[in-house]
């Protein structure tokens, strides 16, 4: 399951949903807002998502992970709106019988989410400028 939320992510509650008596391994990944990117000092981040497609693409990615890595349970949550330094922007959790699959599926999911979901990130810099990440000619600092 994948959800989008404008509220703070609570990893501990999400983790509990992945419990399974057959699961011996749990791997999670979180993306945190850090205070710098490519030489710029970041003050906060703004995430915009197009939810209908973000959800359907996210579910497709989770289904692909189950197909590739077998007996895994996987959830993810992505934040939207304005985030401050240290906030959790994305959480991915995977449980499985053994650790190989948990690590591999978790990595596969976050890598795919980053390039396939219709989500955009605008960085607001300490100098007052801002820019959309990955846009070649649109960022203020480009």
């Amino acid at each position: 399951m994948i959800t989008m939320t404008s509220e703070p992510i609570n990893p501990d509650a999400l983790r509990g949903q992945l419990f399974d008596p057959t699961a011996g391994a749990y791997c999670s990944f979180e993306g945190w807002v850090r205070n710098h990117n490519e030489g710029h000092e970041v003050e906060r981040l703004e995430y915009e998502a197009y939810e209908p497609v973000a959800i359907s693409e996210g579910e497709a990615i989770l289904a692909e992970a189950r197909e590739r890595f077998g007996d895994v349970r996987a959830f993810c949550v992505h934040r939207t709106g304005m985030l401050e330094i240290g906030d959790c922007a994305v959480w991915v959790g995977v449980s499985s019988p053994h650790r190989d699959e948990a690590f591999s599926a978790c990595r596969f999911i976050i890598d795919a989410l980053k390039v396939r979901l219709p989500i955009w990130k605008k960085e607001h810099y300490t100098d007052g400028d801002s820019g959309w990440v990955n846009c070649e000619r649109c960022a203020a600092h480009a």
Partner: protein, 80 residues
């Protein structure tokens, strides 16, 4: 001419100044819609860095567009 609703996101929306617009376009594919709106709004982002969805389904640039379709133009994504 086809009636196409075009929705813009992130920098495309800021560039166009609107969330969406209904346009009468002489287009066959999603790529044609991309070009028509690029000419209209002056975006400089290469098509190869962008993605497109038609009626909330991810699509290819070669996908056909039909009269009444809603085409979603996604600038380079950056989730996570």
């Amino acid at each position: 001419m086809k009636q196409i609703t075009v929705r813009y996101f992130a920098m495309f929306r800021e560039n166009a100044g609107v969330n969406s617009e209904r346009l009468a376009l002489d287009v066959a594919t999603a790529a044609d819609v991309f070009e028509a709106t690029r000419d209209r709004h002056g975006s400089a982002e290469p098509q190869g860095h962008c993605k497109v969805a038609i009626n909330d389904q991810m699509a290819d640039w070669a996908s056909p567009v039909e009269d009444g379709d809603t085409v979603l133009l996604f600038p380079p994504v950056a989730g996570g």
